[in-house]
């Protein structure tokens, strides 16, 4: 019989089974490693490369990858793509992650509260969601972008504000079903406060769709940032972002395909890593799915 030392105030979260399960999840680890590597490269990389991301050299335009020290080639202005890619990563990753966090938090919050409370609180929250959904997202993006002063923070907020509704609705439906379950009643019997029941008891049971929504949002945010920038409301030239590198490559689809392939692969890598982490989290939290 194992006894747990009573002196320990609260079992540390990193000792929890979920963390251990996560740490054993091969894909999740790959994801974490890839994202960490990417982040590190974006933070430190630009200093290590021989070229400045802004330095224009028209004689060197459209150099294919592995030309001299242009490992990933150059863009139409002869700038080093590797340097730009890493600089761009700072913005894109930040925007992607922050937008994901914001929209997921907001969506999950509204969804849980609306689903659990029901009644007029739920109805008003859900009609608010409807109101946001009622506007086609381009309209929301354009409107918000036009009315706010553009900056990376604003883009993040704009993207978050236009993508939280999906989470909210899915979570709301899920919670409406969960709130009738007996373990929730047990929570009420214990006299847990409403917010405790909503966020500590019910929310973990609705994590599946939330995690999916979060990983989808990362990808959308990275691309949406490019779209907003393309419209002139986002990151202005000469600063790069992954999305606008990809956008700018449109014209050169046939003549300089690496312009698209390089950022395309990078975005896919980042998004896939987040997804792997998401899968890992999902599995770690889904205590029934496999070995403890």
């Amino acid at each position: 019989m194992s006894t747990i030392p009573l002196s320990e105030p609260r079992s540390r979260w990193w000792h929890s089974r979920a963390v251990r399960r996560f740490a054993r999840h091969r894909l999740a680890l790959i994801g974490v490693v890839m994202i960490t590597a990417l982040t590190l490269a974006c933070v430190a990389g630009p200093w290590l490369l021989p070229y400045d991301q802004l330095y224009i050299d028209l004689r060197a335009r459209f150099a294919p990858p592995m030309t001299g020290q242009h490992y990933l080639g150059t863009d139409p202005l002869g700038r080093d793509i590797a340097a730009r890619l890493l600089m761009a990563g700072r913005t894109s990753l930040l925007v992607g992650v922050c937008a994901m966090v914001l929209s997921t938090l907001l969506g999950a919050f509204v969804g849980v509260v609306a689903g659990y409370r029901g009644g007029w609180v739920g109805a008003s929250l859900m009609r608010m969601v409807d109101a946001f959904l009622a506007f086609p997202s381009i309209f929301l993006v354009l409107a918000l972008a036009a009315l706010l002063k553009p900056s990376p923070t604003m883009i993040t907020i704009i993207i978050a504000l236009t993508s939280w509704m999906e989470v909210a609705r899915i979570v709301e439906a899920e919670v409406r079903s969960l709130r009738e379950r007996e373990f929730v009643q047990a929570g009420r019997m214990l006299g847990l406060s409403r917010s405790h029941i909503m966020f500590r008891e019910i929310l973990p049971n609705a994590m599946g769709p939330i995690i999916v929504a979060a990983t989808l949002t990362v990808a959308r945010a990275i691309l949406l940032e490019a779209y907003v920038s393309f419209l002139g409301y986002g990151i202005q030239p000469p600063l790069p972002s992954w999305g606008n590198m990809l956008n700018g490559a449109q014209q050169y689809l046939a003549s300089a395909p690496w312009l698209a392939i390089v950022p395309g692969i990078t975005i896919t890598m980042a998004v896939t890593s987040f997804n792997f982490i998401g899968d890992g989290l999902r599995d770690a939290l889904d205590v029934r799915s496999g070995p403890g």
Binding site: L27, G118, G119, A123, M126, R127, D130, A131, L133, A134, F135, P136, S137, I138, F139, L142, A143, A146, L147, E166, R169, I170, E172, A173, E174, R176, S177, E180, R181, G208, P209, I211, V212, T215, L216, A219, R220, I222, L223, A226, G243, L246, N247, Q250, L253, A254, A260, G264, I267, T268, A270, V271, T272, N275, F276, D279, R282, D286, R288, S289
Partner: protein, 316 residues
């Protein structure tokens, strides 16, 4: 049920009203305006601009313009387009068919394939199939639709010549076959992202259900694995999908924008963006109202269907 519907009805009316006010305000606050398109015309003087603003009623105070719009709307008059003088309802009607055709077919493809991939991915978790589906979905999500469209056209149309390079039909040929031929590539391209989205949600939802005890019961009954999956697992996993499907309805208005552009498909997405670009207020407002209506309807249907499928959920 009746009480629920009545409640929803008045909530929706208020919602539509709010949406219209917000939409109208934002629209008018956005820089530009209907006359901006003439700004680079060397022959247009400020006098011309002022005259046009006056004629189009744009120089009245916003609340006045809004109430004018609202009153007409309540009488069923959606106004006429600034751009081509056609009644807004006609404008929407003319583009609706194209969009319904495209969105309809691609949504069907996306739901069918996405759901299938999701279920299979969950039941064969961490198999080769699951890995490929995951990475495939991520690629679909990471690469803008525009790219898929262009590459698709490049490969399947310019190189292989299998499908047309765009357009809804060949001018002068209105046969169903012609439409279908033109529909193949755009609907596939458009469905890519949705397949990815659906497959991810479905996979997760299936995993949430697959270890529950009642699935064990179903197996204990000796049901075929197929029926266990389809009836017991998927039946329960589909609940969040219904919500997702309900949200697809309003997306017919803006969801296909990029695909419509790449494939020159004369649908609602283009119309909306063009109208927005030209600040064609009556049309934009019309589309907004239509979109709000579809949102309300889509979500209402989803809620009712969920309540029908899941007896634990009470409408209200």
């Amino acid at each position: 049920m009746l009480v629920f519907l009545l409640n929803r009805l008045w909530q929706s009316v208020i919602l539509l009203l709010i949406v219209s006010i917000i939409g109208f305000t934002i629209l008018n606050l956005m820089p530009g305006g209907p006359l901006a398109q003439f700004a680079l015309d060397p022959g247009m003087t400020q006098a011309d601009m002022d005259r046009l603003a006056e004629q189009m009623g744009l120089n009245r105070p916003l609340p006045v313009q809004y109430f004018d719009w609202l009153m007409r709307m309540l009488q069923g008059d959606w106004g006429t387009s600034f751009r081509d003088g056609v009644p807004v309802l006609d404008v929407i009607g003319r583009h609706l068919f194209a969009t319904l055709l495209l969105m309809g077919s691609s949504t069907v493809i996306a739901i069918a394939i996405g759901t299938w991939i999701g279920i299979r991915g969950a039941t064969h978790r961490y198999s080769m199939f699951d890995y490929s589906a995951t990475v495939g979905a991520m690629v679909a999500l990471s690469i803008p639709t525009f790219w898929f469209g262009l590459v698709g056209i490049y490969v399947f149309s310019l190189r292989l010549g299998w499908v047309p390079a765009g357009n809804m039909y060949t001018i002068g040929d209105g046969s169903v076959l012609n439409y279908l031929h033109h529909l193949i590539l755009p609907s596939i391209v458009l469905s890519l992202v949705n397949v990815a989205v659906w497959s991810r949600y479905m996979r997760s939802a299936t995993l949430d259900v697959i270890n529950q005890d009642f699935v064990k019961t179903a197996r204990a009954k000796g049901l075929t694995e197929r029926r266990v999956l389809m009836k017991h697992v998927v039946g329960n996993a589909l609940l969040p999908m219904i919500t997702l499907a309900g949200m697809q309805l309003p997306s017919i208005l803006g969801g296909a924008l990029v695909t419509e552009t790449v494939f020159t498909w004369p649908g609602m997405g283009r119309l909306f963006l063009d109208s927005l670009g030209y600040s064609d207020y009556p049309v934009v407002m019309g589309i907004l109202m239509f979109s709000a209506f579809l949102t309300v309807l889509g979500n209402l249907i989803a809620d009712v269907v969920i309540a029908m499928v899941d007896p634990r959920i009470r409408l209200g």
